[in-house]
Structures are given as structure tokens and as C-alpha cells.
Symmetry: C2
Subunit: 271 residues, 2 copies
Amino acid sequence: MAMLINGQPGEQISALDRGLAYGDGIYRTMEIRAGQPRLWAWQYRRLVADARRLRLPLPDEALLLDEIGQLADGLEQGVAKIVLTRGVGARGYAMPADCKATRMVSVTAWAGYPPERARDGVHVRWCDTRLACQPLLAGIKHLNRLENVLARSEWSDPDIHEGLMLDTRGLLVEATMSNVYLVSGQQIITPKLDQNGVQGMLRDWLFVHARQLGYQLEEAEIIPARLLQAEQVFLSNSLIGLWPVASIDGQALPQQHACCARLQALLALQR
Amino acid sequence: MAMLINGQPGEQISALDRGLAYGDGIYRTMEIRAGQPRLWAWQYRRLVADARRLRLPLPDEALLLDEIGQLADGLEQGVAKIVLTRGVGARGYAMPADCKATRMVSVTAWAGYPPERARDGVHVRWCDTRLACQPLLAGIKHLNRLENVLARSEWSDPDIHEGLMLDTRGLLVEATMSNVYLVSGQQIITPKLDQNGVQGMLRDWLFVHARQLGYQLEEAEIIPARLLQAEQVFLSNSLIGLWPVASIDGQALPQQHACCARLQALLALQR
């Protein structure tokens, strides 16, 4: 792994950083292909949106791209992560008047997930951990991720690839690290993320590109029973791409639909 | 400020620490008097409870006390902070099987808040930021504190000393950095913290000691209107001690009750 912290090579940050003290920051994880971050425009758009909501200063796009490029130079396949925090602050929750943000950019070589997951589908489970409803933080990829940590700690079976999460109202939100979609005919629905959840950049991408293939993607309030009625369920995140769901808690799901495979093919064309 | 990280002098931690990545950890802040942490037994009891709930390994009590003692040696008055995280982990939410926790202990000289706040009372406001309902994290002093950061960012007027917070149901929970109590006769009520909020160690202390002065402290579901009906409202936290509330959003509160002053006097006798 190679890392730049505020542009300087290093792997350490101040123990007084608000990112550690309060989770006061945001992050993004992205695929590296041939030395470049994939789907960068979509990633940066999300960083802009999240930084604005938390009133975090956002570094220049060119600077971030340059730092990723430096670290990923010559790397065929890998993962980059950007973490932005509100920097070192005095004791107390108040945001520093003169905020010196901390910027961490790291790149790691990584060969990707086993390709059969995208082809044959993944096995998922329902998590008992439910997501709270907090409109002020909903959708943001912030550093307050204890709910996801607790949900992911519910299983250790390596043959279970993801865990679906409901919120405290009993509505489907997401999987621990991915967004969720239900296909019926030409319609795709995905949970509204106005109360909780993380808005992944591939979710944004799908809203624009599903239409190209004749699908209509819409947000909906989704109760768990609807998953078993769907013709196909699939997941998205920037590192997994799109994974069809083969089973939920051991119950096989129908794979009557080519939707996920068609979207995968379209996604594969993107840089 | 002086700091030990896993027992070694230093002020930097790995940028890969899960405390930063996910807020996967807990903390406590405490007063130092004459080189020793005040009310240590109460602080440690809370650390034990919080670590157990998040399945974090907890360092030995004697080790923590020794490290605080080293840093606070010769210091008449100050603040100590303990931060415990799940340490450095691989990418992903899953808890590392072989968790090497990170332990940060720091001590800073600090003369305390202006004493007139404890004597004459403080001016508080209602925050618009509401706390989500999440039983799995309720009461824990964990590192996911964005809600408090957002609430504290609602005001910058130095004459407003604290902000009261409701949850998404409209019930009183706490103030941004303190617990809240309403006095009526010999009865004191404080919000239940089964859905959200931070269980301060002074709150535990009050449950045991209010009784000594003939008060009955109980948890309750408290709607905002009840604050204006109380004979006294006061706040607790380990650094402020106990502060009576003089006004809420400019509306003066009655100070007909000696309750807070009597509890302050009892607290002053504690080591």
C-alpha cells in the first residue's frame, strides 16, 4: 500500500484528528485500472455532495486525481481510497473556525473479487442489525460506520458474501457494503436513502444508464417480502461492480432475468 | 498535552486504524486533580460496559491508571482522555479475528470552566439536530459522534453554553456533551437512554448518590414542555460537574430548588 497524507508520503495521522475523535469526515473507495481511478467523475460528484452536506472543505479535483495518479502509476489493478476529515481540532464538538482538513489518499494492488460472484451470483443473509433513521446523515459515506461494523460481525462463513439490512422501520435499506436493486420486467426498484444508507456512486450511474437499456430505475419503500417476489435481485458497489443475488438465507432466488448481466456488460465498457 | 499510544510516547496513529475508518472504538474524558483521575471507578465501570457492548478488548485497569498517572504526574488540574479502538484492520467492516486494539491516553493541563456557570447557571438552547433511535449503540460513548458535531455547529454565541437535543420521536435525550435532569420536589427525572444518547459516568454516580440526599432519581420519557414545568433543570458531565440551567432559548427557568447545589456539594467531596 502507498499513501499520501496531505500530499506527503506517510501512513500516520494525528491522534487528535476529528476523523478519529468523532468520525468527522467522509471517504470513497474506488477501483484502479491501468493506473487510473475508474468512473472518477461519479466518485468525485459524490465527494462533492457529501462534503457539502457535512460542510467539509473539499480538495481540488485535480489535486486528488494527481495524488491517485502518483500512487497508482504503473498499477494494472488495485483499489484507491480517499478519506477527508475536518482535521485536528481542539477538544469539543464545535467545528474549528479555521479548519485544516486532513486528506488521505491510498492505493493498494488488488486482483478483485472472484469473478464467479458476478457471473453465478452471491449468497446473502438478512442481518439482525437494523439501521437507525437519521435524515441528516442519510446517504453520506461518512466515517460513522459502527452500524455496518456490527452488521458485518453477524457472520463469519466465507460462503456468505453479503448481508442485507433493514432499518428500524422494517424497510430494506442496503447490504452492509453495497446498494440493492429488485428487478421486475423492465422496472428496477432500489430503496430510498432519505433516512439512512450510503449512496454509492454506482447507484447514481445506474440511474442514468439503466435507461439506455430500456429499464426504468426508481426509488421505493421496500418491505423484505418483495425480494422473494422479484425476478432478480442484484447489488452494486464500486469494487464489486454488480453482483446478482443467488440466495437469501439459503433460499434460492429466481434468475429469470438478464437485467444484471446486461448492466454488467454496459458497465464493463466504462472507464 | 502529553500522550501515550499503546504505552509509547507519541501523538500519531496509523491512518488504517479502524477508529478512523469506521469510528470503531470508545472514549472517556475525565478530570485530573493532583495527578489523579477523579471518580476513576465510575469511569472505568463505563469503559467496561461500553467495551463489552462493542466487543472491544479492554486494557487492564491498572495499566490505564498507570499511564494516566505517568502523564499527569505533578499536574494539579487537567483533563485526561482515553480512546480505545479496534486497531488496524484490513479493508472491510469485518472485525479482525486477531484484534490488536489501539490505546490512546492523553493528559492536558486545564483550569476548568468558569466557576460562575456552576453557581449561577448556564444558558442553553434547543438544537434542531435530532438524535436517531439506535438501541444497539444507545448509551455507548463511541467514536460515531457526527450527530453531536452537527448539533454543536448550530450556534457560535459564546454566551450559549449548551444545546439540548431531542430524538427523532420528539423526546428529550441529552445536551450535546452532557446529561440532563429535571427536579420536582424530591423527585429527579432524566431521559431513558435505551434508544440514543451517551451514558455519562456522573449519571451513574447520581443514581447512587442522589438517594443519600433524599432525592429519588428515575428514568423517564420526557417531552420538551416538561422542562419549563420543572423546579430546576441541571446538566452533568465529568468536566463540567453539575450545572444548573438558568435559561432555555432566552426563557428564564425557575431556580426554586437547592437540589443542584446540594448535589454539587456532595460531588465536591468525591475524589
